[in-house]
C-alpha cells in the first residue's frame, strides 16, 4: 500500500516537473514551490506556494492540475491549492537550480588574464 502511494507521489512530482515558472524557465518542483502532496485513495491534494503579489499563482495551479490529471488518468481527483503567505527561500530550490543561479565570483584579474590569453591566441 505504501509502495503504491510512493509510486503515485512520484508520478505527481514527475507531472509537476512539466510545469515551469514561465519567466525563469525552471519547473515548480525544482524551484521548491511544492509544499505538500497528500494522497488518499483516489484523491490527490497538492499545495503550492506563491507570494500575495504574484498574479501567476492561479494559472500555475490550473496548469499543475491539468498536468497531474493527465498523468494519473480519470480514476483520480486532483485538487491544487495555492498558499500565498508561505515564505519562500532559495534553500527550498534544488541544489542544481541554486548552483545555476548562484552569484558568480567576480575575479577581475583572472578575467583580464583570460582576455589577454585570447588576444595572444588570436594574434
Amino acid at each position: 500500500m505504501l509502495h503504491a502511494k510512493d509510486a503515485i507521489e512520484a508520478e505527481v512530482l514527475a507531472a509537476l516537473r512539466e510545469v515551469d515558472d514561465p519567466e525563469l524557465g525552471v519547473n515548480i518542483v525544482d524551484l521548491g514551490l511544492v509544499i505538500s502532496c497528500e494522497i488518499a485513495s483516489d484523491d490527490v491534494s497538492i499545495t503550492l506556494m506563491t507570494t500575495p503579489t504574484c498574479p501567476l499563482g492561479g494559472l500555475i495551479a490550473e496548469t499543475a492540475a491539468v498536468a497531474v490529471g493527465k498523468r494519473l488518468g480519470p480514476d483520480y481527483t486532483v485538487h491544487v491549492r495555492i498558499e500565498r503567505d508561505a515564505l519562500w527561500s532559495p534553500d527550498l530550490a534544488s541544489p542544481e537550480v541554486r548552483t545555476r543561479f548562484a552569484p558568480k565570483p567576480f575575479r577581475p584579474l583572472s578575467t583580464v588574464r583570460t582576455w589577454l590569453s585570447r588576444l595572444a591566441g588570436a594574434s
Binding site: 514561465p22 519567466e23 525563469l24 524557465g25 524551484l31 507570494t51 500575495p52 503579489t53 504574484c54 498574479p55 501567476l56 499563482g57 492561479g58 494559472l59 500565498r84 503567505d85 515564505l87 519562500w88 527561500s89 532559495p90 530550490a93 537550480v97 541554486r98 545555476r100 543561479f101 548562484a102 552569484p103
Partner: protein
C-alpha cells in the same frame, strides 16, 4: 468564462483604451494628428494612471484574489473615462482612490509576507497617490508625472527583487538597494526634479546599475525562449533608465523642456513599456485567460520600440522635431506590431493548413 474573468478582460480592455487615448493625445501634442478631445492635455495622466495604473492594479487584484479588489482597477478605468470626457477633477479623484486602494492591498501583502520586495512595492504604491494628490492640489501633469513614474519604477524594481531572490543577494547588496530606494523616494517627495535634479538622477542611475548587476535576467539571458526574451527586454529597459538618469542630470527639467521630454520617455517607453512587452505573454494568460504565448517574432516589435525611444531621446538632445515625430510614429508601429503578433499566437493556424 467566469464573471470575474469577464470583468478582468473588460478592465484590461479599458486599460488598452486609455493607452489608445493617451497615444492619440501624444500624437496630437506633436501636431501629427488632429486634436479630438482633452487627451492631448492629459497625455501623461492617461498613459501612466489610465494605462499602467489600471494594468498594475489589475495584476495586484488578481494576485490578491477576490472580486472586491477588482474595484481598484475599475476606479482607475473610471478615471480614464472621466479624463477623456474632460472631467479632470473627478478623474483625478478616481485615480487618487485607485492609488490609495492599491497602496492598502500592497501594504496588506507586505504585512502577510514581510520582505524587501513587498516593502519596496508598498513604497512604490504610495508614490501613485502622492503624485495624484499633487495634481489635485493644482500641480500640472508634468509636475505630478515624476512621482507617478517613481511608482512604476519601484513597482517593477520590487517585482525584479522578488524573482531575483534565487540569486541570494548578500546583506551588503540588499543594504545598498535599500539606501538607493530611500534616496530615490525622498528625492521625489522633496519635489525633484523640479527643485534640483541631482539626487533623483544619481539615485535613478544607481538603481539602474544595481538592477543590471543583480537582476536574475543577467543569468536568464543565457537561457532560451520566453525566459531569454524577458531578460533581453529588461536589460534593454535598464539601459533606458540610465539614459533617463543622464538626461535628468544633464538637462534638468526645470530649465529644459527637451530634457524633461527625454527623461519621461526614456522611463515611460524605454523602461516601462519594454517591461510590459517582456511580460504580456506571461501575464495576459494569468490575468484574463488570453491564450497568447511567446514567439521569437516578438523580438521584432521590441527592436522597433528601442529604435523609437532612441529617436525620441536623440531628437530631444538635438531639438529635432522630425526625429521626435519619427520616434512617436515608431512607438505606434511597435505597439501595433506587438499586439498583432501576440494576437496571432492565439489563433489555431493548423485549421488553415488543413483546408
Amino acid at each position: 468564462m467566469s464573471a470575474s474573468r469577464w470583468l478582468r478582460a473588460v478592465l484590461a480592455l479599458a486599460a488598452g483604451a486609455a493607452m489608445v487615448a493617451g497615444l492619440s493625445g501624444g500624437l496630437a501634442r506633436l501636431g501629427l494628428v488632429p486634436l479630438l478631445s482633452s487627451a492631448a492635455e492629459h497625455h501623461g495622466a492617461l498613459m501612466i494612471c489610465g494605462f499602467f495604473g489600471t494594468l498594475i492594479s489589475l495584476e495586484r487584484a488578481v494576485a490578491r484574489g477576490g472580486a472586491a479588489a477588482l474595484a481598484i482597477p475599475a476606479l482607475a478605468a473610471c478615471g480614464s473615462l472621466l479624463l477623456i470626457l474632460g472631467f479632470t477633477g473627478p478623474a483625478a479623484a478616481a485615480f487618487l482612490l485607485a492609488g490609495l486602494g492599491l497602496f492598502v492591498i500592497t501594504a496588506e501583502a507586505a504585512c502577510r509576507v514581510p520582505a524587501l520586495f513587498t516593502a519596496v512595492m508598498t513604497l512604490g504604491a504610495a508614490l501613485w497617490p502622492l503624485g495624484t494628490a499633487r495634481w489635485l492640489a493644482g500641480a500640472s501633469v508634468p509636475e505630478a508625472a515624476y512621482a507617478w513614474l517613481g511608482f512604476l519604477v519601484l513597482t517593477i524594481t520590487a517585482e525584479r527583487i522578488e524573482l531575483s531572490r534565487l540569486t541570494k543577494p548578500s546583506l551588503v547588496t540588499k543594504a545598498i538597494l535599500v539606501a538607493i530606494v530611500i534616496t530615490f523616494a525622498a528625492a521625489l517627495v522633496a519635489g525633484q526634479p523640479w527643485s534640483g535634479s541631482r539626487l533623483l538622477a544619481a539615485s535613478l542611475g544607481a538603481l539602474a546599475l544595481w538592477l543590471c548587476c543583480n537582476d536574475i535576467a543577467v543569468r536568464t539571458i543565457r537561457g532560451s525562449g520566453a525566459a531569454r526574451f524577458c531578460a533581453a527586454c529588461l536589460l534593454l529597459g535598464y539601459g533606458w533608465l540610465l539614459v533617463a538618469a543622464l538626461a535628468l542630470a544633464s538637462w534638468p527639467p526645470a530649465g529644459s523642456a527637451f530634457g524633461h521630454d527625454a527623461a519621461v520617455h526614456a522611463i515611460g517607453l524605454g523602461f516601462v513599456l519594454s517591461m510590459v512587452f517582456a511580460h504580456a505573454p506571461i501575464i495576459l494568460p494569468a490575468v484574463i485567460g488570453a491564450r497568447v504565448r511567446y514567439v521569437p517574432a516578438l523580438y521584432g516589435p521590441v527592436m522597433v520600440l528601442q529604435a523609437a525611444v532612441a529617436a525620441r531621446v536623440v531628437g530631444d538632445v538635438m531639438q529635432s522635431d522630425r526625429l521626435i515625430a519619427a520616434g512617436a510614429w515608431l512607438t505606434l508601429a511597435s505597439l501595433v506590431a506587438y499586439a498583432a503578433t501576440l494576437a496571432a499566437t492565439s489563433v489555431d493556424w493548423s485549421c488553415l493548413r488543413e483546408s
